[in-house]
Amino acid sequence: MQRLTRLVALIAVIAMVLAACGSDEGGGDPGTTVPDTSDEMVACEADEVDGDLNFYNWTEYIDPELIAQFEAEYGVDVVEDFYDSNEAMLAKLQSGAVYDLIVPSDYMVAIMIEEGLLAGVQKDAVPNISNLDPFFADPAYDPGGVYSVAYQWGTTGLGIDMSVVGEDFEPSWALVFDPDLVSQYAGGISLLNDPRETMGAALKYLGYSLNSTSEEELQEAADLIAAVKEYIRAFDSDNFDETLVTGEFAVTHGYSGGYFTAIDDTEEGWDRFTYVIPEEGGTVWIDNMAVPTTSEHPCTAHTFMNFLLDAENGAALTNWNFYASPNAAAEEFIDPEILEDGTIYPSDELSERLEIITDTGDFEINYTDYFAIARS
């Protein structure tokens, strides 16, 4: 009898939980079919708002002033939540979290389109989309820009402490991969703790594509990293800017915008520290605004996109976070110093050697494993 009661109670609990999970999935999982936006989403008009905006963005990526301005102008609240990796954002969305606007990077847009997680962009509701540089209007990861609108773009390169490395250095990946050079720096170096970025940098130094799907090339890249491992003091994706400006490391591998803010905040500033894009080329990435299928306030989301694509607002964004703007009309309002900076707006010649990381499907597993091998 007692056993039976226990069993019944247990089954009841399990049933309740499963029911809860089930209904959750019904709401959160859009299934595998690619959503037809006209059916599922209400049609929005320009400047229409339908509630507060749940904005899921990268940390330190938008000027709080801009948020305040939008709130004042449209009379809605912007609820911000932050992530520090595309994968973390994807996992949260797949687990049923509801947001109105997200900022996935290039390859993640492709994945999310395939997974049916993105509602399309209603271009009628975003008239400022015409301000976009044509280069960003039709990206390879989202042909025709059906699901996403470029937010900011930037590069991955090296932060240099010139008091250790010297003023006179070649802007090359050799700074971190040539044992003869690296061994000379007191303090050592750090590389990103990210298989695609760090293996990609090694692949670029070896003259291969950073989207290589050849195991031999990956093995070579892993060997290259392993050869300088004794000088790599950390694999770190979070503090690369801080460890550079505090003098902990001589050279660190990281994302462009992070360095600009950190170097500006130091006493010696650009006389001592700098950021370079290695001449062999590296990663260029484009972050994009997109509306998830689960969005509850899609019209506010579209209005916000339109707000940021405004020439002056787009410029304000770049003047604040030092990432390059995809907004062609914004250029006249961007600080000339930023526009002329070859590390924010790389030269055409260098741009040709930059690559966007694309999803390699099952080969992602090899990137992770070879990266683990390189560190062993």
């Binding site: 939980v17 997974e115 990210d194 950390a234 694999f235 597993i365 062993s376």
Partner: protein
């Protein structure tokens, strides 16, 4: 009944150890006894419902999900497909890479546990042999670190161990060199031992504190010297504390993720790091689940074995 009482009365004559009033005033029938037991167990069950519910919801079910996912497959976009069930993820557990990472994590956890034990034992012994007042003060001091967040405390170590940190400055003040401890395996060990020390001290203290000191006294009376008395009496009697403390330290050390990342700069791939990368970079949930499950399973076996072995020495 009467004759029974008489018998008892007779027995009372010869032995006074038994109190007759208890037995006689509560006539116990087997049925009533059973009913009382049942009521008792029903009450027990009702009291435990929240605990059962909690365990099922937040422990058993997630665990079942992990187990189910570990047999699933990965789509080329990194989604977990709950179809094409296979054991491929478990096969990969025996690859050289995984075995190497496991061995490294195991070694690190072992060294951490031993260091914790060596540092904690004299400390716990010292606390347990103080007067109750001082004892309580010392125990509170052991627990004070728990009042602040582990992550914050780990970052604090970064400041202490950094090349212009406290340790390095002291060394330089005495004309020594700049010391670079941060981002080495030593920093990881310091961080782990620091973080898990209370988990070793508290069970050890509990075991030593309730130790029957008259046994140690007896050993000394029988001409055992201090060391022999410790080895033959104190240590074996405090063994439950050693076993419990070691398990409490070893398990989290094996899966340590934050400390190696923040203090060690993630230079070596460890189990925790490798599992996280399966979920967040390779987006290979089935393999990550299989790894997690395997670690749990091995730890369970090791714990059972350790408890058994520990029990034998008692």
């Amino acid at each position: 009944m009467a004759s029974e009482g008489g018998e008892r009365g007779e027995r009372l004559m010869t032995t006074t150890r038994r109190r007759p009033d208890l037995d006689e005033e509560t006539p116990v029938t087997p049925e009533l006894e059973k009913a009382a037991e049942k009521a008792e167990s029903r009450r027990g069950f009702l009291i435990s419902v929240p605990a059962y519910g909690y365990l099922v919801l937040f422990f058993a079910l997630p665990l079942v999900l992990v187990l189910v996912y570990s047999f699933a497959s990965r789509s080329s976009t990194g989604r977990t497909l709950l179809e094409d069930w296979n054991v491929e993820s478990y096969r990969r557990l025996f690859s050289d890479l995984v075995l190497e990472i496991s061995a490294r994590s195991f070694l690190l956890a072992l060294v951490t546990t031993l260091l914790c034990l060596v540092v904690s034992y004299p400390f716990a012994y010292y606390i347990a042999t103080r007067t109750p007042r001082i004892r309580n003060v010392l125990l509170v001091l052991v627990m004070i670190p728990f009042w602040s967040n582990f992550l914050v405390r780990t970052y604090a170590w970064r400041v202490i161990l950094g090349s212009d940190g406290f340790v390095s400055q002291i060394s330089q003040a005495f004309g020594g060199e700049e010391i670079r401890v941060l981002f080495t395996i030593w920093a990881v060990l310091i961080g782990l031992v620091y973080g898990y020390l209370p988990f070793m001290v508290l069970p050890l203290y509990a075991a030593i504190e309730r130790l029957d000191w008259s046994l140690v006294e007896a050993a000394r009376d029988l001409y055992a010297n201090g060391f022999t008395a410790f080895r033959k009496v104190t240590l074996p009697l405090s063994m439950p504390g050693v076993v419990a403390g070691s398990i409490l330290v070893f398990i989290p050390s094996l899966g340590a993720y934050v400390t190696p990342a923040i203090l060690g700069g993630a230079r070596e791939t460890l189990l925790g790091d490798y599992i996280v990368s399966q979920f967040l970079t390779a987006r290979n949930w089935p393999f990550g689940s299989a790894l997690s499950f395997a670690v749990m399973f091995v730890m369970l076996l090791a714990t059972i074995f350790y408890f058994r072995a520990g029990a034998k020495t008692l």
